[in-house]
């Protein structure tokens, strides 16, 4: 099973990970980062870079927790821990938009989508050759590790 690990001290706050995430999940069919609409709120990043008040940055990435707060709080069964891959998976069709996941995640990863009907969260870029954020990080502040 693979997870994204974070070396916060290496993060420069460039947000290449956020752009890569938005680009990987865009709905308009484009793939070039040149054409990603950075003014369209629908392009939501599933990772976040926050300023650390004591210096540096805090990269926030979904940990696909072993004991996931989000899935534990999900009443509709839209969020589930996949024991084979270790990923916390989301089934949009089952989502009731109650946002218990948003309120319960201790890392603040799940977000309401812009239509306020669903949630968005890291899907580990399933189907792609590894998470796009990791590939885009110029500092190797995030990396994939077998656990």
């Amino acid at each position: 099973m693979k997870r994204i690990f974070i070396d916060a001290h290496k993060c420069d706050g460039c947000m290449s990970c956020s752009i890569a995430c938005m680009n990987a999940h865009r709905e308009d069919g484009g793939d070039s980062v040149y054409t990603l609409d950075l003014t369209d709120p629908k392009n939501q990043s599933r990772n976040f870079i926050k300023k650390n008040p004591t210096g540096g940055y805090i990269p926030l990435f979904c940990r696909h927790c072993d004991d996931p707060d989000c899935a534990n709080a999900c009443m509709s069964g839209a969020l589930k821990k996949d024991l084979a891959t270790g990923l916390v998976k989301y089934e949009k069709e089952k989502c009731a938009g109650c946002y218990m996941c948003v309120m319960n995640c201790r890392y603040g990863i799940p977000q309401p989508d812009t239509s306020l009907h669903y949630m968005v969260k890291c899907d580990f870029c399933e189907g792609k050759d590894g998470p796009s954020c990791v590939k885009a990080c110029p500092k190797e502040a995030i990396y994939v590790k077998e656990v």
């Binding site: 947000m15 980062v33 609409d37 950075l38 392009n43 885009a136 110029p138």
Partner: protein, 629 residues
């Protein structure tokens, strides 16, 4: 824990020039081609032009959750401001070049020095309506008029432009209110506009870009060529060697880089004088040779008919410079402008190559600065020569040669200009127009500008050129694009085989290649003159011609200023990568769509050679049918 800081990537970027690619990959030193890997992750905000660091609140970046910078500037303002800043800088570079060229012409004339082409002087003076008592007086007056225009305030329109630009274009520019004031002032107001919390109107800034484009094109490009023709001699069509094979290790070799050929006139003559050659011989060399690199090398190659003895040939473009030095056979670099890459510095250090810079605007860290000064050119020239001889003596025997004698070719057609081409065609444009009308030549594409490496060295330029000629579109090239295309053999008559049936027949009949080499990027001004002459002959405006431009591998800000000239001329302009504008839908739409209704021009962005060529061909066919041919 210690970190290794001396190693470098063993992977290099691909090059269209395969022997060069293999050579660079085998080098024991790092080049730009190696560094592309370490710089392969690009910042998305930077690529889209939506990062603003004009004030201490920044850098601010536009995201869906932060659609405005702290000051309130939105994506359109930030993109337009960044773009104008780049165009203003690029324009400033070219205006610096024409200013120095005019000064050199004036000083040469005042000193009654060598005017290599009086014919060019009389022709230009006639066009500008200037009379003089003798050749020197005339040259001074021409130079003075150019300088007077450059120094006008931005609210006073320049004058020579009225005589140099094509009248239907002048009319269109006046209608749009984009006639430039004094070139230097336009650059000045351009940089003022895009400073902190000044202009926020993207349209106003884009209009300013067009003004800068016109000023750059007519003065920085066209006039620099015409003034250089007077001082340095007119281009003559001939065959010449290109590539690393031009380097002869038996000589003291000086690689020249820059754009200001007139700064070399004194020294390039002096290097052939008996006493200087004797000094070189005493040091163990056969004499001196200039090895061409970047645009000043292209310019020397263009005028090579006048410099067969001192000039070895053009070795390569900007991103070939490190390889040229790595041969070990270069003893000194004499530079005066871009593209003198900072990456040559460690190579010069390692191979004990003397760097001398003659214009402080392009001062290199490791170079000795001996600024070109017309009054002290003799003493300075001798000092430079002595330093180069010293470098030769110090390094030869200690530095290993790593030559590539089989690189490039010996029969690249060079020396093409608006004059030499017309002369070649029998002093008339009619034969070319007839070929276009008959469809044997479908249209004309100017493949111009730079070479870049981030996505491959000359890869798109060369692939696009091959696609275009295969479609019977004749290619005219100017800039570092020429350096890549010629080293890949597309400017030899044998390249006719790669052309479509119509163009192939034309090339074979005339004994010419399907790509005509106009030399340096400055010669984009010559392409404009060819376009004007063709338009005049047919009686149409420039945007109506089956003519397209591509700066496929544009690299720098100067290319963006050139590009704005292309747009002002009303030409379709293809770029391989967008000029950091896509973060603004407004700016992107104006440049790629709305411009068609303003000047007739349009930007086309496409990184794929095949589909880009198809788009350019479609435009050419559209223009042909509008002309009923």
């Amino acid at each position: 824990m210690s970190e290794c800081t001396n190693c470098f990537s063993s992977r290099t970027c691909p090059s269209a020039d395969k022997p060069l690619e293999a050579f660079i990959r085998s080098l024991p030193m790092e080049t730009s081609h190696h560094r592309t890997e370490g710089q392969s992750t690009k910042c998305g905000f930077g690529l889209q032009g939506v990062c603003c660091r004009l004030c201490a609140n920044g850098p601010c970046r536009i995201t869906p959750k932060a659609p405005r910078g702290i000051c309130g500037a939105d994506a359109d303002t930030i993109v337009a401001r960044n773009f104008l800043r780049a165009v203003a800088c690029g324009s400033g570079c070219y205006i610096h070049i024409v200013e120095n060229t005019a000064k050199n012409l004036k000083n040469t004339a005042l000193a009654k020095g060598k005017i290599r082409s009086e014919e060019s002087l009389y022709r230009l003076a006639k066009e500008l309506g200037i009379d003089g008592e003798d050749v020197y007086d005339l040259a001074v007056k021409v130079a003075d008029e150019v300088l007077a225009d450059l120094y006008k305030p931005d609210d006073v329109q320049m004058e020579l432009i009225e005589k140099l630009a094509y009248s239907p274009r002048l009319e269109a520019w006046k209608k749009l209110g984009i006639m430039p004031g004094g070139s230097k002032s336009e650059v000045f107001s351009g940089v003022v506009k895009c400073s902190t919390n000044l202009n926020s109107d993207p349209m106003d800034m884009l209009v300013h870009c067009l003004k800068l484009g016109i000023s750059t094109g007519v003065y920085g490009l066209m006039l620099t060529n015409l003034l250089n023709d007077i001082l340095l001699g007119e281009p003559e069509i001939r065959f010449a060697p290109v590539g690393l094979n031009v380097i002869d290790p038996d000589y003291i070799n000086i690689m020249i880089t820059g754009h200001q050929h007139s700064m070399f006139t004194y020294i390039q003559d002096r290097l052939l004088e008996e006493d200087v050659v004797a000094k070189a011989k005493a040091a163990g060399a056969k004499g001196f040779k200039l090895v061409g690199c970047t645009c000043v090398g292209q310019d020397l190659q263009l005028r090579g008919a006048h410099y067969t003895e001192i000039f070895d040939g053009h070795a390569g473009n900007n991103y070939t410079s490190e390889a040229i030095l790595a041969t070990g056979a270069i003893d000194g670099v004499l530079s005066e402008f871009n593209c003198t890459l900072p990456g040559i510095e460690p190579i010069c250090d390692e191979l004990m190559i003397k760097q001398i810079c003659i214009d402080d605007v392009a001062k290199k860290k490791n170079a000795e600065l001996i600024p070109f000064n017309f009054d002290t050119r003799k003493e300075d020239g001798d000092r430079i020569i002595d330093e180069l001889i010293e470098a030769y003596k110090n390094r030869r025997g200690k530095v290993k040669m790593n030559l590539l004698p089989e690189h490039g070719n010996k029969n690249t057609l060079t020396g093409v200009s608006e004059l030499s081409l017309k002369k070649f065609l029998g002093d008339s444009w009619k034969p070319l127009i007839d070929l276009i009308v008959s469809g044997k030549i479908k249209g004309v594409a100017g493949v111009v500008g730079c070479s870049s490496v981030a996505y491959g060295h000359d890869t798109l330029t060369v692939a696009l050129t091959k696609e275009l000629i295969a479609k019977d579109i004749i290619v005219l090239s100017a800039g570092c694009s020429s350096g890549g295309i010629e080293n890949c053999g597309l400017m030899t008559p044998e390249a006719a085989e790669l052309a479509g049936p119509g163009l192939k027949e034309v090339c074979k009949t005339l004994g010419i290649p399907p790509v005509l080499n106009f030399g340096p990027c400055l010669a984009i001004g010559r392409l404009e003159m060819v376009a004007t002459e063709l338009a005049k002959e047919i009686g149409v405006d420039i945007p109506q011609l089956p003519l397209v431009l591509s700066a496929a591998q544009w690299l720098e800000e100067q290319a963006l200023a050139d590009g704005c000239f292309g747009l002002a001329l009303g030409l379709p302009l293809h770029l391989g990568v967008p000029p950091f504008i896509t973060g603004s839908q407004l700016v992107t739409k104006v440049l790629t769509e709305d411009m068609k209704d303003l000047t007739g021009g349009q930007v086309i962005v496409d990184a794929d050679a095949k589909s880009a060529a198809e788009k350019l061909e479609a435009i050419i066919l559209e223009k042909r049918s509008a002309l009923n041919i």
